[in-house]
């Protein structure tokens, strides 16, 4: 009665619906990273368990929703720290991290140096750039790129943490 191709089509439709739901979770992380989000809240929102969401998300995107959220926060933190007029603690809370310890640990893993050192280096680079040397301290030139591409190029690399010896910052 039920033809195999119908069954396959139904399974594929369900798979696409699941992927679209994961997309909404990921978009919500991008949109609301500065809120006190956690995986339980994200999962509740789409009516699945936290464990199920984490497994599905990792299968689709190659990392857990928590890792994705933290990378998004650290990415935004590097942008705020470059401004130079906000402290590390202020940045930590501004990007939605409740714990300075967790923030510092993850920042160091992804960027290759602690946030305080990054802030000093960014300030130094800005001072150099203000002088004669254009683009001082910048290994990646983002001028002229569409901004969203610049964002992708300069965002912390997911799933590839900085080597233990601090690499020179862009």
């Amino acid at each position: 009665m039920c033809k195999p191709e119908w069954r396959r089509a139904r399974i594929q439709a369900q798979r696409l619906a699941d992927l679209a739901r994961l997309r909404r979770v990921r978009d919500r992380i991008d949109r609301e990273y500065a809120q006190p989000l956690d995986v339980e809240a994200l999962a509740r929102d789409v009516d699945v368990s936290a464990g199920h969401l984490s497994r599905q998300f990792r299968a689709a995107y190659g990392e857990s929703p928590y890792a994705y959220l933290m990378t998004r926060r650290i990415e935004r933190a590097t942008a705020l720290l470059r401004r130079g007029d906000v402290s590390v603690t202020e940045v930590c809370f501004a990007v939605g991290c409740a714990s300075l310890g967790t923030f510092t640990t993850r920042f160091t893993e992804l960027v290759g140096m602690p946030p305080g050192a990054f802030r000093r280096q960014a300030a130094q680079a800005a001072a150099d750039a203000a002088g004669a040397a254009r683009d001082a301290g910048s290994a990646i030139k983002v001028e002229g790129m569409p901004a969203c591409v610049a964002k992708q190029v300069s965002r912390p690399v997911r799933n590839r943490e900085a080597p233990a010896a601090a690499r020179p910052l862009r």
Binding site: L22, R23, R26, D27, R31, A79, P146, A147
Partner: protein, 136 residues
């Protein structure tokens, strides 16, 4: 040489939903609409800029695309990692309010980026990322 960027394409998975988004939410004009069912090719673009269009296409319509590849494309569209486009407007915040009011999935509220621009981002109904940046 005198070359303009004439048409960029984005895939749809529900032609009527994509048409409604680009026409009714973004306010684009419809320049052509051919085909039927899921196999529709719809050309849209901003009024007054007839030289630049977006062609909304069925995904993987090229006969050289295999069944496996087509499934991969539709899955990438669903998870939001396939198509994207960058638009621009003089007032990102006003545009954001209008698009958001159209019940559109928001990916990013208007944000001042460290590389000197202000932008926001949405999903179109097919899962394509539509980023809109402010003209300065």
């Amino acid at each position: 040489m005198d070359i303009t960027i004439h048409t960029a394409s984005l895939p749809h998975d529900d032609p009527d939903a994509s048409l409604a988004f680009y026409r009714d939410v973004l306010g684009f004009e419809v320049r052509s609409d051919v085909g039927q069912g899921r196999m529709r090719w719809i050309t849209v673009g901003p009024a007054g800029q007839s030289g630049t269009s977006i062609l909304l296409t069925p995904p993987g319509a090229d006969p050289g695309v295999t069944e496996d590849e087509r499934r991969m494309i539709t899955e990438m569209m669903a998870k939001g990692t396939y198509g994207w486009i960058l638009l621009a407007t003089p007032d990102v915040d006003a545009t954001f309010e209008k698009v958001q009011a159209g019940d559109t999935e928001v990916v990013q509220e208007p944000t001042e980026q460290p590389y000197g621009i202000r932008d926001c981002a949405f999903r179109d109904p097919a899962g394509n990322l539509v980023r809109i940046q402010e003209l300065r």
